[in-house]
Amino acid sequence: MTPNLLLYDVTLRDGSHANQHGFTSDFCCTYIDRAYAAGIRYIEVGHGNGLGGCSLHIGRLKDPDLWEAVATKASKYRDLRIGAHVIPGLATFKDIDIAIKNGVNVFRMACHCTEADTTETYIDYAANLGQEVWGLLMMSHMIKPDHLAREAKKMESYGASRIVFLDSAGALTPLMVSNITHELREILEVPVGFHAHNNLHAAVANSFAALAAGCQSIDACARGYGAGAGNLSLEAFVALLEKDGHVTALNVKELIALAALVENQFTSSLPIVDSLSTASGFHGVFSGFKPKILEAAAVYKVEAMDLIAALGQSQVIAGQEDQIIASASMLAQQADLT
């Protein structure tokens, strides 16, 4: 049914949100070896917000030598594609140059779902350097499917060879995912992909809906290890596919061992669907904000739930971490006044 299905492993990038950008070189090396052995051929690495994300604003990478380690693996496995997440506004062309030196050869140019034209020069830049370039639309629950399709079409016209829509807040339902996929496929020549978050327990259902509607790539993480409530669990999804008779070229047992590797290493930051994550999905607030919301709520002595609702109301998008602090400060001021 899905002969061209590509499973894209974002553990070493989205998981960076979960451990506050704390992956070590050693862990990345072990992970890449094991994932490769399990049959994975696309692995994304880096800061949770991608190239240029390392900052006081979002969080510093704890291991600055991470990329050197990745570069050695990239040269070891010639058929392994190493991906990087690139958000114009955080990353610059220079970051792309450095990433290429470190063995990255898939650039996923990402922007808020309404701002596709900010990726034009970035897509152009990496494509001119001979790189594989995808277009990613984040927070895609925030606009109607036909609007999303028009933005996707722009990215395609700039030269993106695949378009992925991201449910960055885990706010979509299977029906919505299905509608979006149909809308995108209608208008696009290039393949479509989907990236789930599990805030409302719908990562598996949504990814199946995406496949059924014709998505050709699915992002996933070992043990669902990603931002907030986590992502689609790679091993569980592949197990389900295999049970239904799909051939994935992946080894489920090895994938389960990969999940165990993550589980044993990051016992204190394993994603769970707690009430905070559910609220975040319900209000459509970016999953990666969770640690920052907890921190700001504690510093300003406000309720985390109120803060999430306020962020949802002011339509805050990924990258606006400072607005979590601004909103918390405002809530605290309002509380003082009453």
């Binding site: 240029g52 900052s55 604003h57 506004g89």
Partner: protein, 282 residues
């Protein structure tokens, strides 16, 4: 009376025209574009200014030549415009991110720039950003790293802004590092479609360990804020200095004057306010 010509009939040029006409000591002698029927030229004509569709050549050929040309075109055209102005002995204020002239942020280094034949206003939002960095650096001389996060509304980010994000980051980082003598500068920009459009917000973040006294830093910021507000009226604090973990953050919001551009376009208003301040001091 300062005799100025405005070169470039886009949003920046039109807004600057209104600001200059409202200023007592400034006379706009001509307004230039490249297309005879452009919205900007029509706007300027309605406001009673002599217009030309022959760009810099039109300005310099006119009978009433200016003392100062304000270049609101693009970095690609600035080279040519500057060369001609130099030939005619006319001072030029560069609103493009070409980086050819002396980078100027009024609160920080205005006096140093006044004698230059080419004064560069850095980038949209640049003058406002620098002001804060300057305050942090002034209160903490050993500051070695500073981060600036600007968020602007989609509605205020035109095609030029969207096509030049990488260059904007690089040139703003260089300008701040150069003017303040700080090695580590990181600039981040967000564009948000939130409705109603948000007014430009700029957060400054530093390492908490680099701040020797928070209260002194606060006092310095407030003083700089007062001098900035003298020429950018919509400048105000939106988050007070606060430590969160190992970082300290401060945020300002800039509301535009609403002359030609809407109030949310504080990012565009601020560079024009800064340019007007330079003109008045020349």
């Amino acid at each position: 009376m300062k005799r100025v010509a405005i070169l470039g009939s886009g949003n920046i040029g039109c807004d600057l025209l209104v600001k200059c006409q409202e200023a007592e000591s400034v006379e706009v002698v001509s307004f230039a574009g490249r297309h005879a029927n452009s919205k900007g030229l029509e706007f300027a004509a309605r406001r009673g200014v002599s217009i030309t569709d022959r760009s810099i050549e039109g300005i310099l050929d006119a009978k009433a030549t200016p003392d100062i040309v304000i270049d609101c075109t693009s970095a690609a055209h600035h080279n040519h415009n500057y060369a001609l102005c130099r030939q005619y002995g006319v001072q030029i204020i560069d609103m493009t991110p070409s980086k050819l002239g002396v980078a100027c942020c009024p609160v920080v280094n205005l006096d140093h720039c006044l004698g230059a034949d080419n004064i560069n206003m850095i980038s949209c939002g640049g003058p406002g950003i620098n002001t804060y960095c300057f305050a942090f650096k002034q209160a903490n001389p050993y500051l070695e790293y500073i981060e600036i996060v600007s968020t602007i509304s989609s509605a205020s980010a035109g095609p030029g802004t969207r096509k030049n994000i990488s260059q904007y980051i690089t040139s703003t980082q260089q300008a701040i590092a150069g003017i303040l003598g700080i090695k580590g500068v990181k600039v981040i920009i967000n564009i948000t479609p939130a409705i109603p459009p948000i007014h430009m917000k700029t957060s400054v973040l530093v390492n908490a360990e680099d701040i020797s006294s928070q209260s002194e830093t606060k006092t310095t910021i407030e003083a700089v804020e007062v001098s900035t507000r003298a020429y950018v009226p919509g400048y105000r604090k939106s988050v007070d200095l606060k430590q969160l973990g190992s970082k300290i953050m401060y945020q300002v919001q800039v509301t535009g004057s609403g002359h030609y551009l809407p109030a949310y376009a504080g990012n565009l208003d601020i560079i024009n306010c800064a340019a007007l301040e330079v003109i008045q001091r020349l």
